[in-house]
Homo-oligomer: 110 residues x 2
DNA sequence: CCAACGCTCTGCCATCAGCAGAATCGAGCG
DNA sequence: CGCTCGATTCTGCTGATGGCAGAGCGTTGG
């Protein structure tokens, strides 16, 4: 896997990459269940170190890996994508009720 | 990138993988614009052969590649994910108005 | 203090992402 | 019909990275 072509100069990267969005959701789901990297990774059949890397958006996992980890969290890929999409529907400043959950999720993920 | 652990026996793979969903959407978007692999690949800075592979779900592209290809289609990753999610919201049999567009999109993709 | 736990860091290598050249296919034309 | 051309897919290759094992770090509780 090779690095993508560089963006034009003066075009700082603002939008998150797929691996960032994915990783955030996976970590969020894991924390929601109150489980450790070891527990989820064990069920998914991957190493805890690797799951950590994926959650932090450091690695682009294969599609099969994504499937396996989602399953270990009792999710499907469809669930994941929908959840990412739903969060993307609220790009503006946080609002009262909706933002509370997001803020907590972020605090737990940090 | 290594193969994921095998699924338990007696569990045939039914759900599409991420690379399949992604590839379908990218090809659909390209056809909607009436463009060739060469044109889009050129703007994205990748080879037409590789874009073909991605569209057919043969390769798991890096997140940066996904970004570059989406941009070449005047889309963002957010657009792509939303579109995939929207399509996933209609898993049942096609209905009159909604299905027409899907059928056309599939026919163009074939 | 030390052990246990959860997570991240570091270094490694087998696999595959990404590609160049070749092959195939279908449409259009003389 | 044969030929040309453009679009797409096939094939083989290699450098980069996905995925991992061992080590390191911080926190907590006895």
């Amino acid at each position: 896997m090779h690095a993508a072509p560089a963006l034009p100069p003066g075009s700082p990267r603002r939008a998150p990459l797929w691996r960032h969005l994915l990783g955030d959701r996976l970590r969020s789901a894991r924390h929601r269940r109150g489980e450790t990297l070891g527990e989820v990774a064990g069920r998914a059949g991957v190493s805890p170190q690797y799951l950590s890397e994926i959650e932090r958006g450091l690695k682009d996992p294969s599609s099969e890996m994504v499937e396996a980890i989602a399953a270990a969290l009792d999710l499907t890929l469809v669930d994941l994508i929908r959840e990412i999409s739903r969060l993307l529907l609220a790009p503006g400043p946080p609002r009262a009720g909706q933002a509370t959950e997001s803020v907590i999720a972020f605090a737990l993920a940090a």
